[in-house]
Subunit: 152 residues, 2 copies
DNA sequence: TATTGTTATACTCTATAACTATA
DNA sequence: TATAGTTATAGAGTATAACAATA
């Protein structure tokens, strides 16, 4: 079977299950990715944040609007450069982050069943190869994940 | 890094590139999956077709409407059971199928670069394991891909 | 009544273009 | 002029619920 089709099918099944797990915990994939980025990295501005997640700035604004309405974060202008909006998680956002982290960790435990560390290393490496083989502008390769417990 | 996150990132990059490749050839992922299914399998009805692709019946109707409007296929009632709509590819649909097959084949060649047959076998197996680990209702496991040349 | 498919409607995620505010 | 972000709008893909046609 073509490897792209295998990847597409697996990713579809897994991503739907993961979406369900996040939804049950009160989140969604975009909100989870945004919370991870806010929690683990210092982004100079929203464009960097959007790039780290792999979406456009306007798309990020869309999600931030919803999350701010939900009380998960606040945006303030940076006094040093009032064009820049500083995004900060609220206590409510922190609580959601922890609930989602729990859901993601549980999910990953379920996902790994039947695969040993060597398998997982090989899988991660090969997935990186696939993405690299078709990457156009190459998402930041230094964007490794700093906190293994903090995401699925 | 959590394996689910590695999969999500890789799948996002790869699926966007694949969507672009299909779009350049005049198609989309859903239309490609539908054409593959029409070409390689005999489905008793649209519900089976939808299930094979992993979407709901109403979603399939949505795509079939667009594809029929585009002249890629026709729907006729089955005389033996007039509730069933027989879906048949037109010559135009056949031509698109062949263009998309070419695009998908080229894409897969690019995608496999740097991975040998052993890698690909291991990767396919592990992707299956991941999907199986989180599958809820388990998509038809007998739905193997009958024509390796016919898809990405 | 049960089955097959369609229609109506809506939601999520994403994007581009035009715009405002700031530098 | 250039940069950061927002607003307006749109499109693709998906879903559920209600419906029509057929058995």
């Amino acid at each position: 079977m073509p490897i792209g089709l295998a990847l597409a099918r697996s990713a579809k099944t897994v991503s739907r299950a993961f979406d369900d797990a996040l939804a049950a915990a009160g989140g969604s994939l975009p909100s989870w990715l945004i919370l991870i980025s806010l929690k683990t990295r210092a982004h100079a501005n929203q464009r960097e944040l959007a790039a780290a997640i792999g979406i456009q700035g306007a798309t990020l604004t869309h999600h931030l609007n919803a999350m701010e309405s939900a009380g998960l974060l606040v945006r303030r202008r940076d006094p040093a450069n009032r064009r820049v909006h500083q995004v900060t998680m609220t206590d409510e956002g922190e609580r959601l982050f922890h609930r989602l982290r729990r859901a993601a960790t549980d999910f990953d435990r379920q996902l790994r069943a039947g695969l040993d560390d060597g398998d997982l290393d090989a899988l991660t490496r090969m997935l990186g190869t696939l993405a690299g083989n078709v990457a156009t502008e190459a998402a930041d390769p230094t964007d490794t994940f700093p906190n293994p417990a903090a995401a699925h």
